[in-house]
Symmetry: C2
Subunit: 598 residues, 2 copies
């Protein structure tokens, strides 16, 4: 179906908004009146600009407080409408949104509303314009879609139809099933928005917290199915008011917006995308750094061995158990420290995974490889982290693609006694503050991962939010997080949690090898003693090593942290009995301890 | 009364929080358990630190999910409590907060709750500790203060009392009158928080939106009156969870917090402060700049004449009608442009105004003056703007203090034909984003100004909020604003609105004198024509000069803007017929036009 977006959903000048919508692949836009008023472009300029960008103008909006008012007020409203219809002619827009009245002058009088809307439609028809009447959830007398439709039906004018908005309908808890009773050709427009489920004033909720479909808690897909069943032929259009989007750059927001409509269409059975290929494991993480020494020392102390080197690039492969870390000192390395640049995900079908990512607007990365290297399928996540899709190691089922590991040449190494790390438990990736919801939707839709509930955590300097995405067996776990507004240098820390079956032994071996463990305050252990009973000596061991403890309904979690190198640190994690979390309850203590050593 | 603050209300490490509370003048603190857990200080260290800082530890909090549970669970809870009582002994805290249970294990069984709380109190008594039981607004079975009190009364134990929290009581709409029926000695503690009135889930409201008394919409003062009438003798303690405070610096937040308690005590009749002395006019504004040329050129084009120069400092006085602007090129001038540094407020009692400001913790500014200069009473507003209190020009009623104007020596000047500016209409001062509510409370309480409703305005890159404070006759108007997170250079624009009886003539004279008026898009005037009818030619004039138009129930407003010099620009404003606003409806267009010329 055709896709469209209201200019109010994006930040910047009207010129910037239109360019962003076009680049992201939208077919059309709704022109929000205030964006036009504030623009130095004339309506004719805007029309030409849209044509150049391949954008249709699907709606002009909104016209307010028109109907069910005393005659002299309605005469003023018609005068105002005539001005706007002339403007729409210059703009080349043929549909106008009329919101149900919130005016104290409006009467609770459906027949009057219908009669006046019929008059408005008569005038509109003279200009070749259609009027789409929409119930605002906080409309004074008309605030449900079926009520708005009854008035449109009673007015019975060919230039008058209704506009449906998923937020207004679902936020009030209306049953969208009844949409199917509206003739499709009378649904002049469909606006889509999601929102997190919040018990708050609906107007405030609408004005500040709307989000793209799939980012909130409303069943937008179900609503769209009903609208399609009714026979609607118009575009799917996003109208999102959100305080965060207002401040974020228009370009990436428009891409995220368009992705949400693609995912929605797939879910509603309106479009086919390449099937998701769920990753089956973390093949490697890649650190980039100008100076490999601090990261190498840390990996060595953790019990990793430098087992191989890339045959054409300055990249070392460190391994312990099934955990692999690449250390790259190539051109991508930043001068200012070590950072996590890429994640290798094991995939049963790497090129299929990349095809889906590309169809969902993920930037496909150039394959910077020597001729003899394995072709790697890679895309960028919203925060810029590179995701490589690599063939599962056990590729017996399918014709083996060239394997990434073959590009690495073994190097002689001391078989350092490993410290018990078995694999990567999870990755914790801090997102830019305005990209958290987008990152969750990206990982769910592009990678086919499941999102757990989000968790709020207070640290000494602000509130952190975190939400984990995982595959079914937990062999891929990524904790996406967002913290206080970035500090001066905008640094976002990332961390890699390594699984061990005996965190005490692994932590001790790390420390004995010269590693520095994050010190945890003694008060934390006094509190643990108050909350749980431990075998003799166990708490003393935790205290000595800085091991934190948590339990849930399924099992137990013990974990500790290394010092930070650049923007990266490691966690050692022991999960027992099916524990499902990430120790979020301990995060305030960990964050405070990290602040203290900075 | 003694004042106290919960450590959770301030940002930073526990050490930073304690220092900030002490410096701001609090008598005591509530130690929030998570702050203690995350601190490297032992309980004994914290006790000593508090003693050094002159802070008592008034409360340890919270203990959760204690009561009305099955016996084996209660045994675990008593074990946990014993640990905490031992800790409190080390800390030197003698009162613990117990919140009503939210546990799914808790039964709806008041007698069981009372019996178990009695057992808890028995144990507490052995440690010399008192238990203060509080109803959370979202407690599973106990969520009103009278219910919590009935259970405490039934338990009938000398070491068990109740804790009252203004948020939990007022957010649920409970009538605080009933507090007077509780014996004062059984009210072990009083926690105070305000909150903006929002229809939302009470737990989310409580966790994220609490604010200091007087900054929200709850009648905290009325509640305190009832608690005092009941005979309560303990401290007034602030417990505020707020996402903004979590990120703001602890020092200024603690000062704002303490100011709110001083104002509250005055309002509740518990303490006397020097009376507010409401300013009667804007005597001058002071711009500081390293280069006086751009500001002087702008003032000249506006029709101001340079009438005098300070006898000992590099400060020029520009005047037109009763509007006065000082241009200071002295040491305070920043290298990076012109900014608004100070406001002179006419006051019937300058030193009285300064005494009140000082009593309300406003920093008193050094009087950097030559020996013969008039003594100026000056304090700093929360955003750093200097406020000078100067004697009203007509000081016939009282022994005239030396007048600030006497420090300026007239300079010969061409009597530039004035352009019709009569006085300063209002000042628009953009606040740092985390100090908006504090600034409003400061201007209300320190200056005795009245705060109007706050207004939200969208600009292309984010949401702005603005709230005006005024004196009774509108001769002092200050529009406090807050905008999107600061840009790279953190610049906050300020502007000075100049009153004129004929904005068209003044704007034209400004333009003819070489001034640059902000250009307003043509689309704005098309919209004005749709909304209102104007006499022939009037809109064309507005369009030519970039004059914006608004009306309210009282009258009309016409205004336009100059270009920006450094961080400052001017507005020309014509108010007719008692218009009360500031043209907020036009702000998006103005802001977009200003973004466009940047």
């Amino acid at each position: 179906m055709r896709t469209s977006i209201a200019t109010v959903s994006l930040s910047g000048s009207l010129t910037e908004k239109l360019a962003a919508a076009s680049r992201a692949g939208f077919d059309g836009v709704e022109i929000f009146e205030n964006d036009l008023l504030a623009s130095p472009l004339t309506p004719e300029d805007i029309r030409a600009r849209c044509a150049d960008l391949g954008l249709s103008i699907d709606l002009y909006q909104p016209m307010r407080d028109i109907e069910a008012v005393p005659p002299e007020e309605f005469a003023r409203n018609l005068r105002r409408a005539r001005h706007k219809f002339e403007l729409m002619g210059r703009l080349g827009a043929d549909t106008v949104l009329v919101c149900s009245s919130v005016s104290p002058l409006a009467e609770d009088h459906d027949a009057l509303a219908a009669a006046q809307l019929r008059q408005l439609a008569d005038l509109a028809q003279d200009f070749g314009i259609r009027v789409a009447y929409e119930a605002l959830a906080w409309g004074r007398h008309v605030n449900t879609y079926d009520h708005a439709w009854r008035i449109v039906e009673a007015a019975d004018h060919p230039a008058l139809g209704t506009c449906l908005d998923s937020f207004h309908i679902l936020a009030r808890g209306s049953d969208p099933k009844g949409i199917e009773d509206i003739p499709g050709e009378k649904i002049f427009f469909l606006q889509l928005a999601d929102a997190p489920l919040m018990a708050m004033d609906v107007l405030q909720w609408s004005r500040h917290y709307r989000c793209f479909p799939g980012q909130g808690g409303l069943d937008v897909t179900g609503l769209v199915r009903h609208v399609i069943a009714a026979g609607y032929q118009g575009p799917l259009s996003l109208e999102i008011f959100n305080d965060v989007f207002r401040q974020a750059e228009a370009g990436p927001t428009a891409v995220d917006a368009h992705r949400s409509l693609l995912v929605l269409q797939e879910a509603a059975g309106l479009a086919a995308l390449p099937e998701p290929v769920v990753p089956t494991g973390a093949a490697f993480v890649e650190l980039v750094t100008a100076d490999a020494e601090p990261a190498s020392a840390l990996l060595g102390a953790l019990g990793f061995a430098r087992v191989a080197r890339h045959r054409s690039k300055p990249v070392d492969l460190w391994q312990q158990g099934e955990a692999r870390v690449l250390v790259n000192t190539g051109p991508a390395a930043r001068r200012d420290g070590t950072s996590l640049a890429a994640v290798g995900l094991e995939s049963p079908d790497p090129s299929g995974a990349a095809r889906r990512a590309e169809a969902l607007l993920a930037p496909v990365l150039p394959r910077r490889l020597a001729p003899e290297d394995a072709l790697l399928d890679a895309v960028a996540a919203p925060d810029g982290t590179e995701l490589f899709f690599v063939a599962t190691q056990d590729a017996a089922q399918r014709p083996a693609p060239p394997h990434w590991r073959a590009d690495f040449v073994d190097v002689p190494h001391q078989d350092a006694a490993p410290h018990g790390v078995t694999r990567i438990d999870h990755l914790a990736l801090t997102q830019p503050w305005h990209e958290f919801d987008e990152a969750v939707l990206f990982h769910r839709s592009v990678l086919g991962l499941h999102a757990q509930d989000s968790v709020d955590v207070a640290d000494p300097y602000g509130l952190h939010r975190s939400r984990a995405v995982t595959n079914a067996d937990g062999s891929v776990r990524i904790a996406l997080g967002v913290g206080p507004a970035p500090t001066e240098d905008g640094a976002r820390a990332q961390h890699i949690a390594l699984a061990t079956d005996d965190v005490v032994a692994t932590a001790r071996a790390f420390r004995d090898a010269g590693g520095r463990l994050l010190a945890v305050p003694a008060n934390y252990y006094d509190d643990l003693a108050a909350r749980h009973e431990f075998p003799d000596g166990e708490l003393e061991t935790y205290r000595e090593l800085g091991i934190l403890y948590d339990r849930d309904a399924y099992g137990e979690f013990r974990h500790c942290y290394t010092h930070t190198v650049g923007r990266v640190f490691f966690e050692l994690a022991q999960r027992d009995g099916g524990y499902r979390g990430y120790g979020a309850q301990n995060a305030p203590v960990r964050l405070a301890a990290q602040h203290a050593v900075r």
